[in-house]
Amino acid sequence: MINCLELVKPYLQEVEKPQRYLGEELHQVKKDWESVQCRFLFGFPDVYEVGMSCLGLSVLYEAVNRRPGLLMERAFSPWRDMEALMNREGIPLYGWESGRPAGDFDCIGFTLQHEMSYTNVLQMLKLSGVPLLAAERGGDTPLIIGGGPCLANAEPMALFFDALVLGEGEEALPDLLEIVGAHKAKRQGRMDRAALFAELAALPGVYIPSGERGSVRKACLPDLEDAPFPLEPIVPYMEIIHDRMMLEILRGCTRGCRFCQAGMIYRPVRERHKDTLLAQAGMLRDTTGHREISLTSLSSSDHTCIKELIEELTAKFSVDRISVSLPSLRANHFSVDLAREIQKVRKTGLTFAPEAGSQRLRDAINKGLDEEAFLSTVEKAAAAGWQQMKLYFMIGLPGETLEDVDAIAELCEKAVLAGSRVLKEQGVNGGMRVSCAVSNFVPKAQTPFQWTGQASQDELREKHNRLRQRIKNRRISLSYHDAFTSMLEAIFARGGRELTPVLLAALEKGCRFDSWTEELRKDSWKEAFAEAGMDMEALATADFALDAPLPWDHLDYGVTKAFLRQEYEKSLRAETTGDCRYTTCAGCGVCDMGSGSNVGSGSSGSSVGDSSGDAKDAGLRNRLSGEAVDF
């Protein structure tokens, strides 16, 4: 048996952060290789610190390893220095637990969390010694599978995969692996790919890209109460991005923001019961020793018992100085109350996402946040002692005018004035500071804006400049995302299989870690597209006809195309749609899916003020979101 961990150890002093590559953490699961039928390697296409922050990875590690016939190990993207070292020494990608070469596993899976990780998937496949294209694989090459939110439009990556799992992986993934194991066991360890594909295609959520393109419906759990959840998660030695306990309190969101892919593809809304969550939190505290717990969801304040949950958690944990963090709060008084409760243990920042500056545009994207309610929230936050806050906005939204851009600056200005006035009344000098973080709108598949092209590069940059000029107040700091990165995201978010050669060329030109600002090689990407005879900007900005077939039409996330179209048309009239938990059914179609419906009857949750930190602008915020459990 080859142990790659032992092979790399003598060279680890040469690379940055060797701890990334070593495993051996608390609660790592090491199963006997021979005791199982199917060995699965989960590849996370980014570095260890990012991958270990993904709750989905942790959940699937539990879901797969709890089954006796299965084994799951982890692998992460080696950083460039480590990749060079592995190539130099002829060491393949390996499982972090056993050190076994990737090629020894029966199945290798990758999560597609965001478009900018695609070249890393290819890097890892290449390091595994597996042919990159599914069509070139045969015989006993490990089965290559994938999952994650990017499957909402799987097509640009489809040809690299043998099978893809749409939707939630807690049941679907281990079920699939058991079939692979049984298949091989029947054939003395050999794999008959065509026969296996036929078996897998019968499973819910499984999409075989080489097969016929019939409609595939996502896998979806009826409820979360019985779903596997890691209560003894791995505790890393090195600092990771989200270095804390994570509890998923709520899945799905029906606020219906029209740009938000997560809000469409994770429906229906399902909650975990408060008592379940409290018990889980207590277990996690005892098994991990973390000093912070994060309650993850797309919109935390929408959990029907969030107030009680936080009060009880704080009461239980404050003696050990364990703080609670809420990543996505809506801009309303209720959220400020929640944040105050959390502050009792450790000081926390406040972040809200108005997304657009003007009322008209907020209505068009169905954010519906009322300016008065927002400013009153700012005042309340100032009264509670916050002297700074972060506000998220998007630029380049469909129908955005220059006045809408100016309105972002104006809203920030108003927030500073409102907050500062309250602070001054309380005798606090210095005033309210606002950091205004602007991302570029990226149209996403399975959303009402899936038909609309992205703003051109010139337009985005012009709007960035305009905003920079409009923001005069020194208490407002402005940051925005790179327009080129957003264009790449847009291309892959709505592209098709014709992008396959571009990805292969980008890989050969050294593109890796494209979501890391300093690693993005723009010229290489430009070359890759030019060689394929494609115009990047034309791809990103293309409007699709409403009745034209879309590359992802066969991928069914429960929300109907008719509903998306209706929402798109309402957005043109700046008409809003209510949240079906608090108003009437909007007819999105997910409740007809037969696997649960939107639950949660607003009690403590507020239905006014419509903003959250959940903006899925597919930038860095999105990259690290840990709420999704699909892989």
Binding site: D286, G289, R346
Partner: protein, 252 residues
Amino acid sequence: MKISICYEKTEAGRYLSHLDLARTMERSLRRAKAPLAFSEGFNPHVRMAFASALAVGVTGRREYVDVELAGRVHIPSFSRALQEAFPSALAFVVADEIQGGGKALSAIINIAVYRIGFTLPPKELEKVRAGVEAVLSADELWRKPKQKPGKKTIPAKEVRGLIRRLVLLSEEEAGQETIVERMGMLPDEKKIFLLEAELLMKADGQLRPQELWEMIASAGGFEAVQTLSVSRQALLILQDGKCFSPMEGVLV
């Protein structure tokens, strides 16, 4: 109640930075249900003090941390709990209460014993011996000033005075070391050697094992190849010409 804990930073923990180690220690203490004491303020932290930070890539056979507790613990049962709570990067050695107004370990520990493991073709051994000889017989050894862009220059320093003892261990002694596990990786024509160095730790300066290794190489006229392993064997207290271990009852 204040306690001192003696632990090992194992081979599995070799690449932990001091911050990683501190985080791992705090989590272990929490899992062991230690009644921790916290600092005041917006961002409360655990009151613990390490005797001496250990560099990335260096293991430690006897390391120490002082921890302040908000309540009392029964040392034997607490020790068992901590032993169980440690991940593989740490190994529990012993814990004891700090009586009265005992000084912080970091203030009284002043000697570190290091072992440096390296591989060289056997014919190079004479050069290492010569290098060790030259270092030991020198009256003064000056460390070059260090200049990093944007940072204050670290002035040159005489470091011979920091070296109390330096020996090249015999092959037999070296053979007992854990690095032998790596022998499989060694080409046949090379052998493992070990240097042991006792270094004074002073408030105004310490000599890092890597620096010492480079000095020996330069004095002996051989290339300072990448070391195989560096391990801190002991932290000691030198007082009135006598050396003793920081925690009574612990054999070093």
